[in-house]
C-alpha cells in the first residue's frame, strides 16, 4: 500500500513557490507557454505558484531565450536581486543550448554561461506540463538549498 507521510510532504515546501520570468531574447514561443500555465486549463495558481512582477519576491527565475549580449548584464542583475535561496529554471531549447541561434554573433548564452542553472526544461517550445514538471523539480532543489543555508547559518524564512 502506498503511504504518504503528509508531515514530510508539507515540510518540503514551507510556502508556495513564486517565479519571476525573464525573456533574454526568446522568440516568445516559450513565453506563451509560460503564460498558458496561468490559463484555466493548467491554472498553476491553484498550487500557489505564481508569476511575480519583481525578482525581489521570487524564489525561482524562469529564463527563456538564448541570452543576447544586451540582456547579459540585465539577467545577472535580476538574478542578483533575488533573495536566497533561489533556483534558475531554463525554459526551452534556446536557453539550454542556444538551439538554432547557437552560432549567432550576438549571443553571450546559453543561460548556463551566465547563471548557475538548476533545472532545464527542453522543448521548442516545451509543453506547459513539462514546465510544471520542471518547477516541481525546482522545488526540491530549492528545499536542498534552504536546508544548506539553514545549516550554514544563513538566515532564511523561504
Amino acid at each position: 500500500m502506498f503511504k504518504v507521510d503528509i508531515k514530510k510532504e508539507l515540510g518540503i515546501l514551507p510556502r508556495s513557490i513564486w517565479a519571476f520570468h525573464c525573456n533574454s531574447g526568446s522568440c516568445n514561443g516559450c513565453d506563451i507557454e509560460i503564460v498558458a500555465l496561468l490559463t484555466p486549463r493548467y491554472d498553476i495558481e491553484r498550487f500557489g505558484m505564481k508569476l511575480v512582477g519583481t525578482p525581489r519576491h521570487a524564489d525561482a527565475l524562469l529564463v527563456t531565450g538564448p541570452v543576447t549580449k544586451y540582456m547579459t548584464d540585465r539577467l545577472r542583475r535580476i538574478y542578483a536581486q533575488m533573495p536566497n535561496p533561489k533556483v534558475v529554471i531554463v525554459v526551452g531549447n534556446c536557453g539550454a543550448s542556444g538551439d538554432v541561434f547557437y552560432k549567432s554573433y550576438n549571443l553571450d548564452g546559453p543561460v548556463d554561461q551566465i547563471l548557475p542553472v538548476d533545472v532545464y526544461v527542453h522543448g521548442c517550445p516545451p509543453r506547459p506540463e513539462a514546465i510544471i514538471d520542471g518547477v516541481a523539480k525546482a522545488i526540491l532543489k530549492l528545499e536542498e538549498k534552504r536546508e544548506e543555508l539553514l545549516k550554514t547559518g544563513g538566515a532564511t524564512n523561504a
Partner: protein, 113 residues
C-alpha cells in the same frame, strides 16, 4: 492654553483622537511590514530597487514620473490655452496686480452696464 476639542458644523477634531488613529495606523503598517522577509543581504543588489534589470539611476529625477504625465493628452489638446496661462504667470507681482485691476475693471463694467 488648553488642548481641547474643536467642533465644527460637520464633526470635531481632537488632538488625542488624531494621535490615537496615527498610532493605530502605524501599528497596522508595522504588522504588515513584519510579515516581509528580513533575510536580504544588505549592501548587495538584493537591497536595491528593481528597475527592469537596468542599473538604478542615481539621480532621482530620472526615476520620477511626474503627475502631469497622467493627463498629458489633456494638456496637449488645449496647449494653446495653457501656453496663454503660462505666459501670463510671469512671477512679477506688478503684473499680477495689473491683471487683478484689469479683471476688476471688466467685472465692474459688466455690473454697471
Amino acid at each position: 492654553m488648553t488642548i481641547g476639542t474643536i467642533y465644527t458644523g460637520f464633526g470635531y477634531w481632537n488632538v488625542y483622537a488624531w494621535v490615537m488613529f496615527f498610532a493605530l495606523g502605524a501599528l497596522i503598517v508595522l504588522c504588515i511590514r513584519s510579515t516581509g522577509r528580513n533575510d536580504y543581504e544588505k549592501g548587495t543588489y538584493q537591497d536595491e530597487v528593481f528597475y527592469g534589470g537596468n542599473p538604478v539611476p542615481q539621480d532621482g529625477q530620472d526615476l520620477a514620473v511626474p503627475a502631469s504625465s497622467s493627463y498629458w493628452g489633456f494638456t496637449k489638446a488645449i496647449a494653446s490655452f495653457y501656453d496663454l496661462l503660462v505666459g501670463v504667470h510671469t512671477g512679477i507681482l506688478s503684473d499680477y496686480m495689473g491683471l487683478l485691476i484689469a479683471t476688476a475693471a471688466v467685472i465692474s463694467l459688466l455690473i454697471l452696464l
